[in-house]
Subunit: 216 residues, 2 copies
């Protein structure tokens, strides 16, 4: 199996090409530390970008939603989609306004989604999504019954092409600007989890879910 995605005009990182990566290891690593993507598709020439959760297994990305959702109804037709995942790692403050930037890791995937009709496959795909969001939670939960599975559309997106784009490190300024009395550097940022807030209707005596310790 190829270890990199094919590169052509669709997925080539044109702006600052040294930040572009096409190997699956890099792309999967960025996909796997997230669970929220922005999914783009076009209906009658109108683009839509919708935030949604996902789960990856191999070169497949699984997506789910209500059978009544506009996004699901459109995507199950097999239209081209673009799925993007972005992790913001910091603000890059340069001396010049022009050289300000951000540190980030992002992946842009291209492919076509198809409906998963088979019930067992559907459950397995939902578990992949659940595991990606919070490993261990599926086993703790009351699992879907037939009616719930029926109300849920699950899609499988095969990644045909993808690219990652990564920026790390300090700012790069124009040579003469290094003399200026202006602070420059990086302000890192990250997503952090707070203390779990129990449901006000939680029965007494139930400890916080074990799975929560898997949130990093």
């Amino acid at each position: 199996m190829a270890t990199s995605y094919p590169v052509d005009n669709t997925n080539k990182v044109k702006r600052i090409p040294k930040r572009g990566h096409y190997d699956k290891a890099t792309i999967y690593e960025i996909l796997d530390v997230g669970f929220l993507c922005h999914l783009g598709f076009s209906v009658n020439g109108q683009p839509y970008v919708i935030p949604t959760s996902y789960g990856r297994k191999g070169d497949k990305i699984y997506l789910h939603g209500a059978t009544t959702s506009r996004m699901m109804v459109n995507l199950e037709e097999g239209i081209p989609v673009c799925l993007t995942v972005t992790h913001l790692d910091g603000l890059v403050l340069a001396r010049s306004a022009y050289h300000h930037s951000m540190n980030y890791r992002s992946v842009v995937c291209f492919g076509t989604a198809k409906l998963i009709a088979d019930t067992a496959e559907k459950e397995e795909a939902l578990k992949v999504i659940s595991d990606q969001i919070l490993k261990g939670r599926w086993e703790e939960s009351r699992l879907p019954i037939a009616k719930e599975l029926k109300a849920t559309t699950v899609l499988e997106l095969t990644i045909d092409q993808a690219s990652a784009k990564i920026r790390t490190g300090p700012p790069g300024d124009e040579k003469q600007d290094y003399e200026l009395p202006i602070w420059a550097g990086v302000v890192p940022c990250q997503q952090v989890w707070g203390s779990p807030i129990p449901d006000p209707l939680l029965r007494e005596g139930i400890e916080a879910a074990d799975s929560i310790k898997n949130l990093v």
Copy 2:
């Protein structure tokens, strides 16, 4: 001036309509606490979703990029775009797998971008973007010179239509599931800023930028 965006098939929140909002106050508030959007557009039927920074002023959103960027080259043609901003506020852990959800605030904007050709307008728009990312940094920076302005494309996106979608609060489970011995609740999350990391090439004796204290 209308205080809400017109609602039609393009921007109507169909799935769980009670989470949908169309008033400008709600939409602007969500846009204004962020600076990173996912911008969707379509070229020859292929959708693209690209993460980029933005700044809002009134019903205009400003975007910038290298004049050589594919996104900028395509967008300045005046094609329809969808600009989406998402703030993840927490994981909603229900007793049933089916009722798991997320707390979030998101905005989806529809419109068409146009090139800002006038240099003074361009600078003003770049300041709007800079202020949105880090208020006060523009004044601290060495401002753009003619060559840098020329290398930068700045676009103005008028928001024609938009919708916000918000979920808050605890999970909602099926009545009979409240008896189950399963922990349920919300794990909040937020983006936090770390300690500034000075550029290794920073001149000695320069204090961290005042603007950094504006990061919340």
